[in-house]
Symmetry: C2
Subunit: 262 residues, 2 copies
DNA sequence: CAGTGGTCTAGACCACTGC
DNA sequence: CAGTGGTCTAGACCACTGT
């Protein structure tokens, strides 16, 4: 026995040309993958790993940092390093903007959350007139100003997405769409009441690492990417009515879509 | 003047409680964001940053590592650190599995690539019978074995995705689906020839950091997440015919979907 | 308080790139 | 060859957590 630091970690292969910190990362990753270290469980402390492997502290820290960048572990100052718990994941259905939901008086985010038994919340609401970016202007096919509706959405107290809707000011001005709470069914319901008939949505999905602001607002752990969605709502004449720019925590969502076979 | 290391980097705020390496990362990130350092351009070397800020090497390296984890820069051993070039992005259309493409004799990946003016390629093809994972078995609603068709797809020489299709062995056995090259239109065309009528597809989209194997096969830079798609093909009776598990480089793709409004 | 991770220094040697 | 980043050591001091 060699003071095995639990989890059955092995030895270093000094003949290998693989860097020591990578070998340590490999062994910890393997322990996590095999379930010898399970979700939420604490990894051996830096001091224990230093003893076990007989290396300098930076070597151990480099190993742990590799795992952090992979999203496998989270370090908590003063407490330890833990296998990253997988938060509950919400599956966004392909029909999440179906009219029946609006008719039930639910905005999409609220409806989805309640259907899944979670408690939704919305904060950081900012509504103002803006000159749109060239990209937004092009998507809306307009030259003038827009109404921008920004908010952050939370599930069971955990921030999961920020979103900004852009609506041509010509459409939004003087309507409940300019209110912080636009009423039952959300702004899509208001648009339909105003005589705009929603035809379909187009959604573009990207994924990337968050910038520091996004990581802060969404309380993202290192190694957790974001979805960046840009959704355009079209009326039945294929005229754009709204663009919604959304940044979502990828550890909180699975996006689901239905594709036609013809 | 203080040997300004190009790019107009500023000074450290010693009164700030923000860590020095984060301040350095902030300044470099800002320089990139403002275009003072543009795509592909080389950052000041570690030695230059050490001189400029008067800090230890590890401090500078920590700063650069922050930017790497954000996907903003790539380090090349012996050459320097460079603002990560944005590779050309392929937009995957919502109708990419439309029948007309199969009838034109193109598999989806090939059709998409050629339509966009790129040169597609496929390698690492492995086809074999397997006992499916519980998840795959459940999606296919079967108990028996599957035919697994694995491949890696490249655009203009750059690997962009790996994919594995799972087809119930009962369906695939003794058909061209078991061939490395299943013929024009891909396996979906073969399925239809066999009398299965494709009705629709359901696609689940996740994003996460790659594991080391995925990073290697897709030549992913640090800080580049992957899309993980699981697509199920259904026939017109809503019976599953195939499941395709795909891992894609997120810096190579924008996924595009059409959502119904009712 | 002891134990944890966070930051930083000052060096060393190595491996890769390009002239 | 000089210049670059990659790895590693051996320390120091700090900040946070929990007892």
């Amino acid at each position: 026995m060699d003071g095995d630091v639990r989890a059955g970690l092995g030895h270093l292969d000094s003949t290998s040309d693989r860097a020591v910190f990578r070998q340590i990362a490999d062994q910890l990753r393997d322990a996590i993958g095999r379930g010898r270290l399970s979700e939420g469980e604490q990894l051996p402390s830096e001091a224990q790993l230093i003893d076990h492997y007989g290396v300098a502290r930076m070597t151990v820290r480099n190993a742990i940092q590799v795992l952090q960048a992979e999203g496998l572990v989270v370090a908590e100052h003063g407490r330890g390093v833990f296998v990253r718990p997988r938060p509950p994941v919400r599956r966004l259905a392909a029909d999440r903007f179906a009219r029946r939901l609006r008719e039930e008086g639910k905005a999409a985010f609220i409806a989805e959350a309640e259907q899944a038994g979670s408690t939704p919340a919305v904060d950081n609401i900012v509504i103002r007139e803006e000159r749109p970016s060239p990209d937004i202007a092009a998507r809306l096919n307009i030259k003038g100003k827009v109404l921008a509706r920004h908010r952050r959405c939370l599930l069971d107290g955990r921030p999961v997405e920020t979103a900004t809707s852009f609506i041509p000011l010509e459409i939004a001005r003087g309507t409940p769409i300019t209110d912080p709470n636009p009423g039952p069914g959300g702004i899509y319901a208001r648009l339909e009441e105003l005589g705009y008939h929603l035809g379909h949505f187009e959604e573009e999905v990207r994924a990337r690492m968050p910038d520091p602001d996004e990581a802060k607002v969404l309380l993202l752990a290192p190694g957790v990417p974001v979805f960046h969605l840009i959704r355009t709502a079209y009326d039945t004449d294929d005229q754009p009515l709204e663009v919604c720019d959304t940044v979502m925590a990828t550890d909180a969502y699975i996006l689901s879509y239905r594709l036609p076979a013809r």
